[in-house]
Symmetry: C2
Subunit: 436 residues, 2 copies
Amino acid sequence: MSIVTAIDTSDIRFPTSQQLDGSDAMNADPDYSAAYLRISTDAGDGLEGHGFVFTIGRGNDVQVAAIHALRDHLIGRDVEDLLENMGATWREFVYDSQLRWLGPEKGVMHMAIGAVVNALWDLKAKRAGLPLWQLLARMTPEQLVELVDFRYLSDAITPADALEIFRAAEPGRAEREAALLASGYPAYTTTPGWLGYSDEKLVRLAKEAVADGFTQIKLKVGASLEDDVRRMRLAREAVGPEIRIAIDANQRWDVADAIEWVNALAPFDVAWIEEPTNPDDVLGHAAIARGVAPIPVATGEHGANRVMFKQFLQAKALEVLQIDATRVAGVNENIAILLLAHRFGVPVCPHAGGVGLCEAVQHLSMFDAVALSGDTSGRVIEFVDHLHEHFVTPVDVHDGAYWPPLAPGAGAEMLASTREEFTFSPMADAREVIAR
Amino acid sequence: MSIVTAIDTSDIRFPTSQQLDGSDAMNADPDYSAAYLRISTDAGDGLEGHGFVFTIGRGNDVQVAAIHALRDHLIGRDVEDLLENMGATWREFVYDSQLRWLGPEKGVMHMAIGAVVNALWDLKAKRAGLPLWQLLARMTPEQLVELVDFRYLSDAITPADALEIFRAAEPGRAEREAALLASGYPAYTTTPGWLGYSDEKLVRLAKEAVADGFTQIKLKVGASLEDDVRRMRLAREAVGPEIRIAIDANQRWDVADAIEWVNALAPFDVAWIEEPTNPDDVLGHAAIARGVAPIPVATGEHGANRVMFKQFLQAKALEVLQIDATRVAGVNENIAILLLAHRFGVPVCPHAGGVGLCEAVQHLSMFDAVALSGDTSGRVIEFVDHLHEHFVTPVDVHDGAYWPPLAPGAGAEMLASTREEFTFSPMADAREVIAR
């Protein structure tokens, strides 16, 4: 038996706002950040569980405080017991009745639980000597069902339904794993399309994306229709008719505006419209989906929890579901969402980018491809070529695909040198602002 | 001109779990708490703005950290400018693009904004020498519309619609204010119905409630149907057929369970079923509302923001709307929700209790009665006789009604002695647990 001996948290921020990388219609100047944690044990095996919540700067300290608040659930606990019963472990965090008041199951406290859950999965995968996607894809259907909390989902999916899904995907796991290792998982890139980039940079990066083997790119839209029409035309001319161009409004519009704006861009052949309005607005998205058909509506990076995703699917309010590795309560809740998506026949195209999101979310899609939906058709994982150098096992993306990670763990471990260099100091930040 | 000179925060917790006051099907042992703030200025008038977020114990420190994170928006700012333009002030907080990532508009960060906004309203009302409800009820329709952010609401209500509502209520404000001062605002009590109470205590408190002039009580349900049937029978026998008995499941059920359970209790004449399932589940509540009709569904105390309330109304998922003073982003957002409720013809019966919620929320209902819906019929404010002695201006509830506060301010100011005595110390708490 070993016990959890320490939870170390860090407030890590990269000054990305200086380059306008990551700029969009709602997020003018993000500083990509991570509220980061390390779980240490006395096992003597040198293994640590690493996890994080992605944020965009201010408030990262609040997110760190929320992770810190969970330490009493972990310190001194039996590691094997926590890791052997990840479903029960998840419930213990999410149903802490006092902490639950702070959501419930949404926002800072829920994301903190996600970071802790993901760090435990990282430790579990390292102990098993497997990358997370492979660890999950080798669990039995019964074990996988145990991971998921079906509370509030039973009007859409039951444990029996989930068991049936996992059992149906059991034959062929080995073949699908081999295919994944041989061909990778399809990717698309958002690198060309940030709002803060010049037309010249947009065109250059769009052409580079095609040369790099991507078959889909994405443009940020929503600040000015005139600009968006010009940028869409330039992008379409740059990439030709065969490459898919998705657009992303980052919640900029109300319902009527969204419908009008998207239809104005429709002549340039839009692969999907992402986050047209507020991420809580199930009925609004459903109205937009009807109003812009056949252009599909995509959303999910700000989806607070599985109950919201359930409703988006029930209401036909999204046609592309974008999971995020650090928005909901970790791996377990994302498996619930993958199950819901499969049950409703909707493809999952994860949100990534930021810092560490690519490293983390690829495991979920690869698990899905091998052991849940068993399918990669119509699916792509977002890719942004940012900050990967800060990870112990950075993503391997080339020829338009994510190539399966083979290192043990969940992929979220940052280099110790990075954690040291980019740990945020409020005083140093104030001095720098004054120096400018 | 005066400026904001300090934001002081406190982590205040009352050890209420020792008495099982406040126990329900999801919250077994709440320690009523407040993440509290004081805004000080250099005006030299001795006035401070006080506000808080109500929580139930663990995590109150995280909530305090979130309030603290907002101080840079306030320190050194022109007080008159902030208070004269409360609509713009609200937008500045809610649309801080980096902080917004932590919600958006939900959970810890959004509630922190609510506390700050409410503290500014407290200061504004104190400066005006008026209780908040009267301050609001004396603003012009144009000024009131300016307070509300209609982003994401325009498919349900526009600024023009809101202006029409406020203008329609302008004639008769004086008469309605006089009637409110003469007759109070109807209240109901939850005191008898906590799950942790014995049958004997339930019956005794139910009878006392009737003797105290209340015409509605509420019982917590959802842990055991057998117990609930027995407790409902006892309560109905205790109060007779004329008194309304609402029930509250505190999110305990899935959709099908809720319908079955509520219909089993229907013979005892249920005034409403409150929080039957997850508070994010608009479509689930709509299904439950259809399944238990004509018993109305009530919810809102965990409603994250105005976009969620919009959908509950659009989907006919609630028939009694329960605003909460500290869940959303303060007075401004609650005015948006009051407007939505009125537009959809749904009565607002606020959630209260906890600590300070009664003191705070009564101002919103009284403003609504004078200058928005202009109506108190079918409306009651929740009352729990708890912890009022800790406030500078405790509520005045008697003869089954809230009596309008006349002291300047928003009602949220705790006694300095209370703040000192109940400031939470993690070390002291650990010692006490060990001593037990």
